[in-house]
């Protein structure tokens, strides 16, 4: 919940504030954002599977972003598209994480529905007797 509020505030700030980051850094930013998104998906998954650790999330968030941007920069200097590595790895991980999130959510939903069904049937039996 609090994360969503933070996200919304950030988006609003991004649109409203007129911060100037050099145009040259723009491609590195994109890769860094991908890394950040991966961390966030990882966090959501951790949260659902009840082993979320804020310190791991935050260090991963910044570490991955810096590493991805750094690799993209290095690749630019060396003339090989290393950023592809970051895109493939983080992109793949985002999909993996999303698959796990989906399963966890669906399972939770199923359990809830089963419980509701059981409850209803118990109430029915009670009413009958």
């Amino acid at each position: 919940m609090i994360a969503v509020i933070g996200l919304l505030i950030g988006i609003i700030l991004g649109f409203v504030l007129d911060v100037n980051i050099s145009d040259k850094l723009s491609p590195y930013m994109s890769v860094a954002i991908l890394a950040c998104l991966d961390s966030v998906f990882g966090a959501v998954r951790g949260n659902l599977s009840k082993n979320f650790q804020p310190d791991i999330f935050i260090s991963g968030f910044f570490g991955n972003a810096l590493l991805a941007a750094g690799l993209a920069y290095l690749g630019d200097k060396l003339g090989i598209p290393i950023y592809m590595a970051a895109v493939i790895v983080f992109g793949g991980r985002i999909f993996d994480n999303f698959a796990i999130i989906r399963r966890l959510l669906l399972e939770e939903f199923k359990i809830k529905r089963r419980n509701l069904y059981k409850k209803n049937s118990i109430e029915k039996e009670n009413n009958d007797t």
């Binding site: 994360a3 933070g6 996200l7 950030g10 145009d23 954002i33 968030f61």
Partner: protein, 242 residues
């Protein structure tokens, strides 16, 4: 609701992510708008070029009309006496040298074409293509060998024509453009023998990138070299009176 420290951090980090996303989105959409703008400019430019081309054709037509009128007037003026005739012939001579009239005569045609690049892998490398130096070298050689009129791809070389690399083309004077990857035909009117010797002297066509080009020299009896499309300027020079 009690907010723990870790939750606060998570919120801040998420805020940062949101900020980055929004910022990047903004930057990229701005870029797209700019790209559209430049596209628009390009279209505009093409139509402008078309317009200018038409204008140029019209001006050329009026130019040839006016110069033929001038010629007629000169001829009627020179009919009156010998002095007038003399002046007229001098004037014509000067015109030929300035390149403002079509000229013809014996001379050579030098055809330069890039060698096929099947076996040379790096064709885009520097120093492979013909540049201003090579063309200037050829023109200079021709002048030195006694050429009286020179044209490159039918662009007349006048005393005021400069040759300079301009992007992927070579600008000849203010109006002409030749492309180093295409065939270049240099025509020169003068004494055929001397021109031939000058051109076929060992090493003269092996200068810099010229070794990457095939060249063919043909002597011809009747070479026609058209007039220049560039107007010669005399804004600053003045005659010194004796």
């Amino acid at each position: 609701m009690k907010v723990s420290r870790s939750q606060l951090f998570v919120a801040i980090v998420c805020g940062l992510l949101g900020f980055l996303l929004a910022y990047q989105f903004k930057v990229l959409s701005n870029k797209n708008i700019e790209a559209n703008l430049s596209n628009y400019d390009k279209n505009n430019m093409i139509s402008e070029i078309e317009k200018l081309k038409k204008e140029k054709d019209e001006l050329l037509a009026t130019n040839s009309k006016v110069s033929s009128e001038l010629k007629q007037m000169e001829e009627t003026a020179s009919k009156d006496g010998d002095l007038g005739k003399d002046i007229k012939s001098q004037l014509d001579n000067a015109r030929m040298h300035l390149g403002v009239v079509d000229v013809k005569g014996p001379g050579i045609t030098l055809t330069i074409s890039p060698k096929s690049s099947i076996f040379t892998s790096n064709t885009s490398g520097n120093g492979y293509d013909l540049g201003e130096d090579e063309l200037v070298h050829i023109v200079n050689l021709l002048w030195y060998s006694g050429a009286e009129a020179i044209s490159i791809n039918d662009i007349r070389i006048t005393p005021q024509t400069g040759i300079k690399t301009a992007g992927n083309a070579l600008a000849i004077g203010s109006t002409g453009r030749v492309y180093p990857r295409e065939k270049i035909i240099v025509k020169a009117i003068g004494e055929k023998g001397r021109l031939n010797v000058g051109m076929s002297f060992p090493g003269s066509l092996e200068y810099l990138a010229l070794r990457n080009y095939n060249n063919e020299i043909k002597s011809e009896e009747d070479i026609v070299i058209g007039k220049t499309t560039q107007s010669s300027k005399s804004d600053f020079i003045k005659m010194v009176k004796e």
